[in-house]
């Protein structure tokens, strides 16, 4: 199967400029600099690539929103990989940082941004070191700086490390953080494309999205869109974790059946396919899919959405039949409570209530009404906050009750779990 973002990671010293160049690196940049910015944006539009961070917004369209005015523009790479279950970008940062850097220089040139930042979650200290070393190499080789490849184009790039706040993965929270503030998301509109970092037009893309750009430029948008399926083009890395025999990051074409991903790539379910209970298909915030759905669903944006969940970041978390669904979701609710930034009351208060109620049901102290109370609290969060963290907290709870209501009922009626 065609690989794009991981195609070089098997090479020894793949993180170095020498190896990346010998594998064809920076040829896309050379080509891009002969094109106009608009040509590049059109090519990315043609590819159909959608944002790989979770929201799935078409990247080319996002770039085209950058106004052609005289204000300083910025390109930001979101490497604040923090959605539980997600660890796909980490391997790009530590194994192929130059491919990301090349994608960023091309993107910066296309939208006329002369300055870029890679916002890396703070805990990825070693990964940030790797990226910084690659940036230093790229400056020394003339790929970065005030005269990129001698073509008179300017692009400066720097690493900015986060400080351990999930909410900074939200793009405006990230911008606030980059400006030296608490990472509390901004009201939108205005969108970052108009008023972003330092008030300037700003493109924010996920690591995987930007790392796909060199191949889109080299091989063309039409080539990219021939991979995957309609409206979910190209390849995607799925981080498969939990109860599979071979957990790992697997780059495959979008549209692959979930069952194939789990059985043929991830080594199968621990204890066999029939031991599968459910799959959280796109990171902690995406509603859990039952085994029945997992039998047939394909891994693309529309199919997963139709199944009532989200492709999200592509973090596939596999639960076998030993898992207490109430306990699993209670753990996630605790996470969202901890990570709520506190600025919107529905999220600040609601995530606390969700966590408390989930915890008391899990501990066998819940009452029957608690199940509907969870749905009510979730309903009072969803759509009522500045950013999507509140929705992210509500969706797994609502999804789990929808799919496994009998387990919640068993917990409140018997004061214990039905599986353990």
């Amino acid at each position: 199967m065609t690989k794009i973002v991981y195609k070089h990671i098997h090479l020894e010293n793949s993180h170095t400029l020498a190896v990346y160049k010998s594998a064809g690196g920076y040829q896309a940049l050379e080509k891009a600099l002969t094109l106009s910015g608009d040509d590049i944006i059109d090519e990315v539009k043609r590819s159909g690539i959608r944002g790989r961070g979770g929201a799935g917004f078409p990247a080319g369209l996002k770039w085209s929103f950058i106004p052609k005015d005289d204000r300083a523009k910025y390109l930001v790479c979101n490497a604040d990989e923090g959605e539980p279950g997600t660890c796909k970008d980490r391997d790009i940062l530590r194994y192929v940082p130059h491919q990301l850097i090349e994608g960023m220089i091309i993107a910066g040139y296309a939208v006329r941004a002369e300055r870029g930042y890679i916002y890396i979650r703070g805990e990825f200290y070693r990964e940030a070191e790797r990226v910084q070393a690659a940036i230093d190499e790229a400056y020394a080789a003339g790929y970065l700086g005030d005269n990129v490849m001698g073509r008179g184009v300017r692009f400066d790039l720097a690493v900015h490390r986060g400080g351990g706040a999930y909410v900074c993965g939200e793009e405006t929270g990230l911008i606030e953080s980059l400006e030296g503030k608490k990472g509390q998301p901004r009201l939108k509109p205005p969108f970052p494309a108009n008023i972003g970092l330092y008030g300037g037009p700003t493109v924010i893309n996920n690591v995987e999205t930007l790392t796909s750009v060199p191949d889109i430029i080299l091989n063309g948008g039409a080539w990219y869109s021939s991979l995957g399926v309609d409206k979910s083009t190209g390849t995607k890395v799925f981080a498969v974790s939990g109860h599979v025999n071979k957990p790992g990051n697997y780059e495959v074409e979008l549209g692959i059946p979930l069952k194939v991903l789990l059985e043929e790539y991830a080594g199968g379910i621990r204890g066999g396919w029939d031991n599968l209970k459910g799959v959280i298909p796109g990171g902690a915030s995406s509603p859990v899919l039952t085994k029945t759905v997992c039998e047939t669903v394909t891994m693309d944006y529309d199919a997963i959405s139709k199944a009532g969940s989200m492709l999200g970041s592509g973090a596939v978390i596999v639960l076998d039949r030993s898992v207490c669904i109430v306990r699993a979701i209670a753990r996630l609710s605790r996470f969202y409570r901890h990570e709520s930034c506190g600025q919107c009351s529905p999220c600040r208060e609601g995530t606390g209530w969700l966590s408390q109620i989930m915890q008391r049901i899990e501990q066998g102290k819940g009452v029957r009404e608690d199940i509907d109370l969870l749905l009510s609290v979730a309903g009072n969060i969803q759509g009522k906050t500045i950013c999507a963290l509140g929705d992210a907290a509500a969706m797994p709870v609502v999804g789990a009750i929808r799919a496994f209501r009998e387990e919640f009922e068993y917990h409140v009626e018997h004061g214990r779990c039905m599986v353990a």
């Binding site: 300083a72 990989e81 923090g82 959605e83 539980p84 279950g85 997600t86 660890c87 980490r90 300055r115 930042y117 979650r121 703070g122 805990e123 990825f124 200290y125 070693r126 720097a158 690493v159 900015h160 490390r161 986060g162 400080g163 351990g164 706040a165 999930y166 953080s177 980059l178 400006e179 030296g180 503030k181 608490k182 990472g183 330092y198 981080a239 498969v240 974790s241 939990g242 109860h243 957990p247 790992g248 990051n249 959280i280 902690a284 973090a315 978390i317 596999v318 639960l319 898992v323 699993a328 753990r331 996630l332 996470f335 901890h338 990570e339 930034c341």
Partner: protein
């Protein structure tokens, strides 16, 4: 907001010459009129320079370096979990217990650490060697269960491996 703790030494914190050179490198990453962007990296640097945590004096010092009102530095330092506002051990052991690690039995890893170190989550050993913390997802889910000690990740753990790792720390 968590309480800020005063330094016990009474000696005002100061960056070494080498650290000041690093501060200059940090400033160069941001536009000249956007120095406040440097507050997070300078706080990270201060934490490394000043023994792994940030006293109120250290935050005040960072405020003078970056040119921000101290209250704005306090806001940032208290918002992000990686800034330690009280002393931590020489080895800060952070165990992930979020979903992917939990599915792969992080409970046994946490238990092994509690037994080995005789510490609960949030506690430090009296000799100043260890602090044990429970943390949220660290983004190494395919290699669960895992933990972080200072700058490094330790992955695909078993209770026996954890014990070995602790024994081998210098």
């Amino acid at each position: 907001m968590s309480e800020l703790q005063k330094s016990s030494s009474g000696v005002p914190p100061r960056f070494s010459e080498e650290a000041m050179r690093q501060v200059e490198v940090i400033f160069q990453r941001y536009p000249a009129d956007r120095r406040e962007s440097a507050v997070m990296p300078v706080l990270h640097l201060a934490q490394r320079e000043f023994g792994g945590w940030l006293s109120q004096e250290a935050l005040d010092y960072v405020a003078t370096i970056v040119g921000m009102p101290p209250i704005r530095v306090y806001e940032v330092a208290t918002f992000y979990t990686m800034y330690n506002l009280k002393p931590v051990g020489k080895y800060h052991i952070q165990v992930c217990t979020n979903i992917s690690c939990w599915l792969c039995d992080s409970d046994s890893i946490a238990q092994a650490l509690r037994n080995k170190l005789q510490l609960s989550f949030g506690e430090s050993s009296s000799d100043g060697r260890f602090t044990l913390s429970e943390v949220e997802c660290l983004g190494a889910c395919i290699n669960a269960p895992m933990l972080q000690i200072n700058d490094d990740y330790y992955e695909n753990l078993t209770p026996a491996k954890v014990s070995e790792i602790i024994d081998q720390l210098p």
